[in-house]
Symmetry: C2
Subunit: 200 residues, 2 copies
């Protein structure tokens, strides 16, 4: 669908199609090469625009990735309250933010689309790089966690499992459980994964 | 397809297709109506055979469902060691069995197929009824758990999240972590969900 105009070049910065084209190119590259393997330059090349234009529209590579994922909220903004207050209680705050985003139908629908991407390798890469790299990964250094990769992956394993049961498979009683009860139930787990003792 | 003759017992002469037909009908009905909404009689009707023949080939409705899911191992057999020893330590034993099945490539592949079913509503129903009804659900009464539905759903949320990270998204360090370390890492979580204190 995007191929019809993919070879246009020399559009003025204001052209609405250019932005969409850059975004489509970015999404395709992030999906096939992953976040780490994608450069702003490559995205610009794919979209036949100058790299400066990519920066102009989207800012940094992080910004571009967040835009390409079409996340309903910017995780860097949403997660700010988790970081405030440091590692103590971060599990509870993370769950609270997470549930507030997922419980809101307008943000849940696009997120469900991302989760359904697990069926193909490109969707899996977007989900992995998105969840680990952009949403949860940045928490580790900013909360000063030891063994950051392991702790972030453990947290992700509980978060995505909660998503699967509550929102995808809609298993009761989790599907209709009060968010406060869910937070209280899962907080000890997430907090242990963030800061508790782990096997050596 | 390949499973059609793998576990035949005392097959009636001449009808190799009948078993496969019953299985296909069962799978279709379980997927659209769920486990609870499907009867042996309805499966027989769908396959145009006598209900007695369904029982003859597959035994109980539970047996038929396990066969229809094409699980690589019979969960009722695999989980026997989890039940022995009672609720104490059940989390650790459950993780050990679970990982041994998933770490074996020959059983992992069909299970991954079941997990990929999340993209459509029929696949979700099979996954939900399979994981909750046949694999984990029966543990609750046999371990004497209070609030069985809630505890089983909590356990499922961690198990399926672990599956997603380790086997589907293949996130490191979980993807190549030693099973013993994984068991030690997740056991406190699963044990708490099984027998620990939960919010009122």
């Amino acid at each position: 669908m995007s191929g019809a105009s993919s070879s246009t070049r020399g559009r003025r910065p204001g052209a609405p199609d250019t932005r969409a084209e850059i975004l489509a190119s970015a999404r395709a590259l992030f999906a096939t090469r992953g976040f780490a393997g994608t450069t702003i330059r490559a995205v610009a090349g794919e979209a036949s625009v100058d790299p400066a234009l990519v920066h102009h529209y989207f800012g940094s590579k992080d910004d571009l990735f967040v835009a390409a994922l079409e996340l309903p909220v910017d995780p860097r903004v949403a997660l700010a309250p988790v970081l405030e207050g440091g590692a103590e209680g971060a599990g509870e705050r993370l769950l609270r933010v997470f549930l507030s985003v997922w419980d809101d139908e307008s943000s849940r629908l696009p997120l469900l689309g991302l989760v359904r991407g697990v069926v193909d390798s490109e969707g899996r890469r977007l989900l992995r790089d998105g969840l680990l790299g952009v949403v949860l990964g940045p928490l580790a250094p900013r909360l000063g966690l030891d063994r950051p990769d392991e702790r972030v992956a453990l947290v992700a394993s509980q978060m995505i499992g909660l998503v699967m049961l509550r929102y995808v498979l809609e298993v009761e009683p989790l599907a209709s459980m009060d968010p406060d009860v869910l937070v209280a139930t899962y907080a000890p787990t997430v907090q242990r994964y963030l800061t508790g003792e782990l096997p050596p």
